[in-house]
Subunit: 150 residues, 3 copies
């Protein structure tokens, strides 16, 4: 099979892949703005030249560090999901299953950011939202590895 | 539409996508070498086994940390751009607009590294070069999400 | 040339690309579990809410930080390899060379994690395994940039 039938902009799985991945990119971009917001709000800068412009010294701040941990968690989890979901799409999965996995992953990562860095909600909210994304990525990578085993 | 007309190695947009993305990969590889260089120059290592080989203790150094912040900024911004520009390419954009966005993003990220970690230039040089990349990625992801909305 | 002959699920290079990249995704997922394991084992948490659940204060720990450095090294090296290897595949390389480069990169990154964060082995084990991956990514990105120069 060549991939023409899959990489077709009429194929709902490929459309979903492109749509939800763009939503995740926009969410990750928002993390940079959220960090900048917290840096200005708490006057906590990492670069001496930025601190000097605000008349303060370089320092760390718990609110800034929390947003940065949420951002780093995105960097650890989302780019590998892009690769896993691309491979999974080529294993010719059921349209319904694939689209719902894309939706669940995207929703879980938005939720993760919300409970981690926007409005801190007690565990297991963060662990659960992280875990959903983790297992979906793992499932997709495992399916892809089995399918293209050689 | 299937993607044959886009993912064609004669298509200037696809060629540009592959060329500029490779240039960005090479730039990111250079960050690792730049960090190593600063580590040896300032004898500031993160691992006890590396510090011991140079007869020093583990310590952090401002010059090393500056290069590492520039590298982390790449990790936050460039992989999501790869995904955004892939999706954007499939929205069938104008060849001129697409190629110039690829060029502008690539130039902005090279500039960002230069003013952040090679030769520190006062703000707004760093903010501007970061912002150009940020808005291009945001624009591409937004266009892709709108195009493949379902 | 359109990419149909390359992005074909019968093409051993494309199959290898999907298989080894999935293996690398699974390896990177394992880093999160390894970090969590070290956090619980050493009772060293980054979030006050997590530390409170275990009745300890937020603190850093050398074993946790070592796994996190190995993970960050993956984030610096593996996502750009995905992009470089995708472009390289489209330069129509020899099947044997391409597959062996995929294998060497994957083996080197598994080795890197092992000697860095699982069972610490003296240098040059870590430097060598990192370097193999670094030069393969650089080679692929350089080949791609030359091939699609415009």
């Amino acid at each position: 099979m060549n991939v023409l039938s899959i990489l077709d902009t009429e194929n709902p799985v490929f459309r979903g892949f492109l749509f939800y991945n763009s939503a995740l990119v926009l969410k990750m971009l928002a993390m940079s703005s959220l960090t900048a917001l917290q840096r200005f709000k708490n006057k906590a800068f990492a670069n001496p030249e930025d601190a000097a412009m605000q008349g303060v010294k370089v320092r760390t701040d718990d609110n800034v560090e929390r947003v940065r941990r949420a951002h780093l968690n995105d960097l650890e989890n989302i780019p590998i999901y892009f690769v896993a979901s691309f491979g999974y799409m080529l294993t010719n999965p059921s349209v319904t299953v694939a689209l719902n996995l894309f939706r669940a992953f995207t929703a879980a990562r938005f939720m993760h950011t919300f409970v981690y860095a926007v409005c801190v909600i007690p565990q297991p909210a963060r662990g659960l939202s992280w875990g959903i994304g983790y297992f979906i990525t793992g499932f997709m990578a495992f399916q892809t590895a089995c399918h293209f085993l050689h």
